[in-house]
Amino acid sequence: MPTITYIEHNGTAHPVDVPVGKTVMQGAVDNNVPGIDADCGGECACATCHVYVDAAWLDRVGLPEAGSQEASMLSFAAVTQPDSRLSCQIEVTDALHGLVVRMPEGQH
């Protein structure tokens, strides 16, 4: 099972095994990882599962397409960066084993 490491804004790392097919957001919610709220439950409608994708993984994870719903939601999130993603839109695959994401200071 792929391991995803979620790093809180304060630096605390949470390595978690997430089944293939779940989203990076679900992996955090299922394991009660602090820093990802996911208020809308994964509908890409609230921007409270915002993460920064580690530079080494950006190629594999990719960025939201211009004009996509995710890009639109992210444009209203607090403190976005060029490596910002909504974790409900990243599906876990074997290729993402070892993925590192960091959480922003807040989701609201």
Binding site: V29, D30, N32, P34, D37, D39, A45, A47, M73, H108
Partner: protein
Amino acid sequence: MTNPNPKVVILGAGHAGGTAAAELRRAGFTGPITLIGDEPIPPYERPPLSKAWLKGETDAGKLALKPAAFYETANIDLRLNTTATAIDREARTVTTGNSETIPYDLLIIATGARARRIPLPGLDLANVLELRNAADADKLKAVLTPGARLAVIGGGYIGLEAAASARGLGCEATIIEREPRVLARVACETLSNFFQDYHRTQGVTIDVNAQVAALHGTDGKVSGVRLSDGTLIPCDAALVGVGAVPNQEIAADAGVDCNNGILVDLSARTSDPAIFAIGDCTHRPIPLYERSMRLESVPNALEQARAAAAAICGKPIPAPEVPWFWSDQYDLRLQIAGIPFDTDRIVVRGDIAAGKFALFHLKDDGTVQAVEAVNASTEFMGGRRIIQKRLKLDPARIADMSVTMQALAAG
């Protein structure tokens, strides 16, 4: 707080209660947590019950807030099939239906709301249903076989969503609404009309200004809804969705202040400092609108669960959020940010006829109080920011699609 590890008891294992337990652990709380729920299953999401669940598009695992193993892993004592019957505030105990006494240092009441019951002859007939929990949804699902006729009493969100799902399952659906339009309590006339028209094009019959007089039955089973003008609407099942009442009795009986909900402050604390209340059962302040009210919504349950967890852990209470709501019907996603208090102007952005638009509700000084968005998530999300920032906007700019929502939200 003198006790660094108080014992927390949570009454109600719904979306609010389940989230409070998880949020306490996320916030680093290490004391004992007991989560008491009267349903047979661990906390789950209720919104899909009238939609994906009815249509068989989701499963129990996806509905669950957390994986089954979570509660044991997180050391949360989850007690299902357990009803709390009384709170003794002096002794700081909760009594359950099987006469067990559970002590607490801090109590979180998350008892939710129940379907409003209207006094109607025939309410006890078989297949007269309501929709609040998974057991209700399973009963409804069982009667929604292709060709079945569903009468929906009450044109609110639950009624409209159930009617849409029923159509999707090949059933006939009639919505019976007492007011002149559906969603009368919760949406503006433009939006009501849009949804009414859409449902009708989807084959739903909508009777407005219609007063139900009685439910008729054959062999103990509902067979029709009689209106006060004598009309009989034949049906195989009737869903009554005429609002909800807060489950506040256990608090009120213990002397906790209640007034159309358990009264709480922004940290979700009640009139008893050792007792918090969260979710649909509460009546809470909304500083944004300088009011207090009940908010029956998942976002409110989540916000208050976090507030209570923060208060219990001695952390800062997160800033209050702009209230928001959503509803999915057919291929329509309705998202509402804010509540249109004191507004006298509606600005349309987008194309109502094309089913992709947002209605901005403005006060006379241009302050945006609420945004109702249909298939327009960007308008919804931008609307939340605009409302949060108390922006005053020029109606002409709002209506101008060449001005982006990002630009509008920037002020």
